[in-house]
Symmetry: C2
Subunit: 368 residues, 2 copies
Amino acid sequence: MKLLRIALLSFALGGALSAFAQPAATPSTYEQTAASQGAANKEAGPRSFPAHSAPVPTNEVSPEMQKMIAAPYPPHFNADPKDAAEWKELINRRAAGAIAALPAMKEKLGVTVKPAVMGGVKVFIVTPNKMPPANRRRLLVHVHGGGYVFGPGEAALPEAILLAGFGSYKVISVDYRMPPDAPYPAAMDDAMAVWKEAVKMAKPKNMAIFGTSTGGAMTLAMVLRARSEKLPLPGAIAPGTPWSDIAKIGDTYETNEWIDNVLVTWDGWLGRAAKLYANGHDLKDPQLSPIYGDFHGFPPAILTSGTRDLFLSNTVRTHRKLRRAGVTAELHVYEGMSHAQYGFDMNAPETREAFTEIARFFDRHLGR
Amino acid sequence: MKLLRIALLSFALGGALSAFAQPAATPSTYEQTAASQGAANKEAGPRSFPAHSAPVPTNEVSPEMQKMIAAPYPPHFNADPKDAAEWKELINRRAAGAIAALPAMKEKLGVTVKPAVMGGVKVFIVTPNKMPPANRRRLLVHVHGGGYVFGPGEAALPEAILLAGFGSYKVISVDYRMPPDAPYPAAMDDAMAVWKEAVKMAKPKNMAIFGTSTGGAMTLAMVLRARSEKLPLPGAIAPGTPWSDIAKIGDTYETNEWIDNVLVTWDGWLGRAAKLYANGHDLKDPQLSPIYGDFHGFPPAILTSGTRDLFLSNTVRTHRKLRRAGVTAELHVYEGMSHAQYGFDMNAPETREAFTEIARFFDRHLGR
């Protein structure tokens, strides 16, 4: 890289490189940046871009979302648990925070939650206090996010409660097994066991599968697996910012790295969780990275992401591949939003908006 | 900024700062980057991100598009013409390249082009050799892109030819007046004069307005102005990556700065053209920045952008504001694509795909 060579040259001229020199400055004026960037990008190839600071966007962004966009990196972004015990400590610590927020969510959104077992798998049945008549014959299956490691037990529930409450749908949320105890394919086996039972409770065309991040990838993988196992397909799906390529493949893994303040980078806990879950399996197996599956014949899909989302490319690659397969597919991208932030604050207008878009999409596409 | 302070400290320790020292290096290992980024983003506020190099994405991206994504910055990205003569020299030099490509485009896409005058304004009538019966009673109006300065005369035609050819629609392309000779509101006056004549040629509900970048902003501004002047509205619109905020306001003006290899930065020729066109008018006037207009009652809209597009935020802000106003609005975002690259190479599969998406959207929403 030319810039690196210039930097090294200038260090050599300027004196011995201090042991803790960590140059990270952009040139100080616009014209200097334009000159150095022009030089670094004057030939075809990878795109070089400078260190930069981006303000919190304010237009078409609510104060609640601005607060999420401004938030610092999460403390665990670079967590590197050394063994099962360290993973569980991190998983349980994060779960406790999610579970503590549930009573207020259930109260505000007017839903009840009951644990159950379906096909031998633990689930939660989330029922809104009010349902329009058409939705009484409809049913949603929720697969939670969390990189295949986070969100055990009730910690999986926030998104299910948001869609039940804002969308007025009954939801079965799958408490699937996860690493470190149960790597791939345990999570998918559990989700499919629940799907097989769920399709006895309503017409499959009246049902949808949804989930965010890992749950979005599992949503896509469930449709692939249902098709290959000759099981009924749902009438619609909502893979939210799906982890459709579990490897670090896709443009915004690079361009939004260090910009997304939720996932931050694949090279932190996220990629470590990917390897823990995959447990030696090929990361391009469509059951692990559903972007490599065949999307022909998929039900109508609605996808959600944000301009700072590390998974924006996972989302748009999935959207385009669905469209190229002739599938009805809607895309919604929110200004300034990092990964999955549309599900973090039930009081943010964007949260209501995103889940209402999904629910109205289901209204249009599910059978009655 | 903490990082800058560390960098300056290390220079002070390392020796005198060379006059041409331009440190641009990222720390060399992932763990160093994670540590410095974690330190720089440990409090709420603007997002700091490091210098970075992003490879050309290859999945869900055609070889033709990969070539465009890999391309160097355009030589004029930081052009700063000092007077009208210098602007015209640049404008005409760029136009010559576009015009030279037209014969092959017309031939391959099977369209004819005839100059005409409508409402006192120069236009081109672009007619496909084959049109399905439904489209013979439909008509599109095209407003070209180019930052309100580029694309005079026939240089405006590539996008009109692409939609006429791939979409099988008859198109009126408006050769509106531009700076340096004619600043705001000349371009909009010309576009509206054509619209007033065009609605006599077909039912307005059978008509659409479309355009990319500046043309996308003008598309939105035309609907606002038609509504305020009690003129008929079109049946659908396609604002492609619209310059909906002409000022440098919006998240990806920052996060995709130096990553987009078409516009590169607002601070180069683009912002200079904005000021030349606005000619002292308020940049938040909805006729200059239509994002500040009221979108209630707008016709169905289809929007197109890319993950590296400097105007991704202009696009998604417009999409969300349309949706919040209850308007049917579709969003399509292409992997790795910078600003407007879906219209640059008629042989790229993404070009056919983007214009086919727009045409089929018009098919669904225009009257017959």
